[in-house]
């Protein structure tokens, strides 16, 4: 199974940042969601960030909230999400990071969840509503399952806390570009490049930037600041929402967009 370090070290040799699309598993339904993910892999995704839908996603803005509701209504649940991941991995050996809310994990059974996620082909789990102070509840089982840990850093995280977060992170640091929840934004926050540079001076753990990366040039800008990856969520999920009556069109638009981002990340700067 391909690891994050396989991907990040190969990309460092190519001087390129990872392209990381985000999807809510099962949005708008199992089959179309799988087709979207496969098309994105074909369009050049280096890593996938996937969320199992939750009824009350407090770190997410309206676009992803609605995707969570669509996915839950289509019958997605943790067990089916594991099956979904297995099918993605059968298609291509690409690293997968899961984005979760804690209640689903606790309900499934913490140890069983991480064990089953690893068995399905997941590389890391980020729990959006669990921070390092309480990470003891999950870090042991994450490591025991053979998974990487991913934690968030935000623009208001103190340097001392950044160091503690980095020390507990083995996968990558999910760097939040803005104060706020997920959502498409027209412009990239001014502070993100500075944030990436500060983090880079503190740790060698890979840095991936998400929240509000909505255009090819945003991805390029965070890569130029030294980020190892750009995570694109709401912009892509918004395309799915815009074409619920025409899934083929959603797939075409999402893959065209991912190709554009890939191109922006590939030209040497």
């Amino acid at each position: 199974m391909k690891s994050y370090s396989d991907v990040f070290s190969a990309l460092r040799r190519e001087k390129r940042a990872a392209l990381i699309p985000f999807f809510v598993i099962g949005d708008p339904d199992f089959d179309n969601s799988l087709a979207l993910v496969k098309a994105t892999i074909d369009a050049g995704a280096d890593i996938l960030e996937l969320g199992i839908p939750f009824s009350d996603p407090i770190a997410d803005g309206p676009t992803i909230q609605k995707a969570d509701i669509r996915a839950v209504r289509s019958g997605m649940n943790v067990r089916r999400a594991m099956e979904f991941i297995r099918q993605v991995k059968q298609y291509r050996d690409i690293p997968i990071g899961l984005l979760m809310y804690y209640n689903l994990i606790g309900h499934y059974g913490t140890e069983a969840f991480f064990r089953d996620a690893h068995a399905a082909g997941v590389n890391s789990v980020l729990v959006a509503d669990m921070m390092i102070d309480d990470a003891g509840e999950v870090l042991g089982p994450i490591r025991a399952a053979g998974l990487d840990s991913v934690f968030m850093v935000t623009p208001n995280t103190s340097p001392e806390r950044m160091r503690r977060i980095a020390a507990k992170t083995t996968g990558f640091i999910y760097t939040v570009s803005v104060l706020g929840v997920t959502g498409s934004r027209d412009t990239l926050s001014d502070s993100v490049q500075d944030l990436v540079r500060r983090l880079k001076s503190l740790t060698t753990v890979p840095i991936c930037v998400g929240f509000g990366i909505s255009k090819p040039e945003h991805a390029r800008a965070v890569a130029d600041a030294g980020a190892d990856g750009a995570i694109i969520g709401s912009r892509i999920v918004g395309m799915i929402e815009a074409h619920l009556d025409d899934p083929a069109r959603a797939i075409a638009e999402v893959s065209a967009f991912v190709r554009q981002v890939k191109a922006a990340l590939s030209t040497s700067g």
Binding site: D56, A59, V78, M131, M152, V153, P155, T157, S158
Partner: protein, 391 residues
């Protein structure tokens, strides 16, 4: 953070990283100001002269006669704004001011907390935004109007069932994006640490006064204290100073809706299982996957799938007991108290009264029971009329 905010296994602060620095700042400010003489004096002055504390402890003789034992009402309904909520909004509002924040946000269900926040926003000259589910905006329109009159902006929230849970989701999201100048004035003893601790602190004046009043008026402590439980703020305020008196039974009454067996209710402790929502571990109404369930109650203020962590703990250790009262009994009791005492109780508070009315004939006549009358029912007259039209 300095404290873990744990009540047994419950509580904590399960929030996205971006909120950690602000919760830390809040914990620090609360630690600094809670016993600061100037802060305490300012709060005491406003509690007395703006809000109307102390509230009376009233021996409801006709209601007592009806049930066959002695019922005392702690009259939080007489406070400015019509509910216990002002105890908390004054405290947190002053804290916000001392922290140098210029804006307030709050969630609201029945609109009572929203109104109490809007009042304090006006009083302290702070810009105020209230998040309220669309269902609640519709069923509590009088309070919406009052909030707007106080100068607050009311933001209707569409997600989910358009009730309190959805309002909290959106208030948390808004806060995430505006943490620098905005204070989230949380309305109940739930949510992430340090809110359960802060809200308990500002609401515990209820039992501090009541304990003293019982000693003075009755010559002894009550045998039982009963309060309704939504998130748990009026109940923890009513319990706090009695927790160390083992002979005082503590009863929390949750919203039984159409009956716990129907699934259409909001009785988190009675019928829920432990889970994590809105930053804390608590009993939670959720499906077998861990998706949070929609709740149902005639009273908007109790229509919430979670509950404060300290109540979960008090339930587990057996110090307090939690029960549910159904909509039909609540409506019945609303009519009863209004007719025989001339007091219109809030539908939330009526849950506590309904439980006590259900004890009719089962307790010795000298038994002394305190009911925390957390709010007045003016806001609910339309709902009552819709269910039980007057001839």
């Amino acid at each position: 953070m300095k404290h873990r905010g744990r009540y047994g296994d419950y509580g904590g602060y399960y929030v996205p990283e971006v909120l950690i620095p602000v919760l830390e700042e809040l914990e620090e400010a609360f630690d600094r100001f809670r016993d600061d003489p100037a802060f305490v004096a300012e709060l005491a002055d406003l509690s007395a002269h703006y809000a109307g504390r102390p509230t009376p402890l009233y021996h409801a003789k006709r209601f007592s006669e009806h049930v066959g034992f002695q019922v005392y009402l702690k009259r939080e309904d007489l406070l400015h704004g019509g509910a216990h909520k002002v105890n908390n909004t004054l405290g947190q509002g002053l804290l916000a001011k001392h922290m140098g924040k210029s804006k307030l946000i709050a969630e609201t269900g029945a609109g009572q907390h929203g109104l109490a926040t809007a009042m304090i926003g006006a009083l302290l000259g702070m810009e105020t935004k209230i998040f309220m589910g669309v269902t609640d905006v519709a069923r509590q329109s009088v309070n919406v109007h009052k909030m707007k009159l106080c100068g607050a902006e009311v933001i209707p929230v569409e997600g989910g069932t358009g009730t309190l849970k959805d309002a909290i989701n959106d208030a948390l999201r808004y806060w995430t994006a505006h943490v620098t100048d905005t204070f989230y004035l949380f309305g109940t003893a739930a949510g992430p640490h340090p809110y359960p601790m802060i809200v308990r602190h500002f609401q515990s004046c209820i039992s501090r006064e009541a304990r003293q009043q019982f000693l003075e008026q009755v010559g002894r402590l009550p045998d039982m204290v009963v309060a309704c439980v939504g998130g748990g703020s009026n109940a923890i305020g009513a319990f706090a100073h009695f927790i160390d008196d083992p002979d005082v039974k503590l009863i929390g009454v949750e919203a039984g809706g159409q009956g716990v067996a129907t699934g259409k209710h909001a009785a988190s402790i009675v019928a829920g299982t432990p889970g994590v929502l809105h930053g804390a571990r608590s009993y939670l109404l959720q499906d077998e996957e861990g998706q949070v369930l929609d709740t149902e109650s005639i009273s908007a203020g109790l229509d919430y799938p979670g509950v404060g962590p300290e109540h979960c703990y008090l339930s587990d250790i057996g110090r307090a007991q939690y029960v549910a009262a159904e909509d039909a009994d609540v409506l019945e009791t609303f009519g009863l108290l209004t007719r025989i005492e001339g007091i219109l109780p809030a539908l939330e508070s009526t849950h506590a009264l309904a439980y006590v009315a259900g004890l009719k004939g089962t307790l010795a006549p000298e038994t002394v029971v305190m009911v925390n009358l957390s709010g007045r029912g003016d806001k609910d007259v339309g709902i009552v009329e819709a269910h039980r039209p007057l001839e």
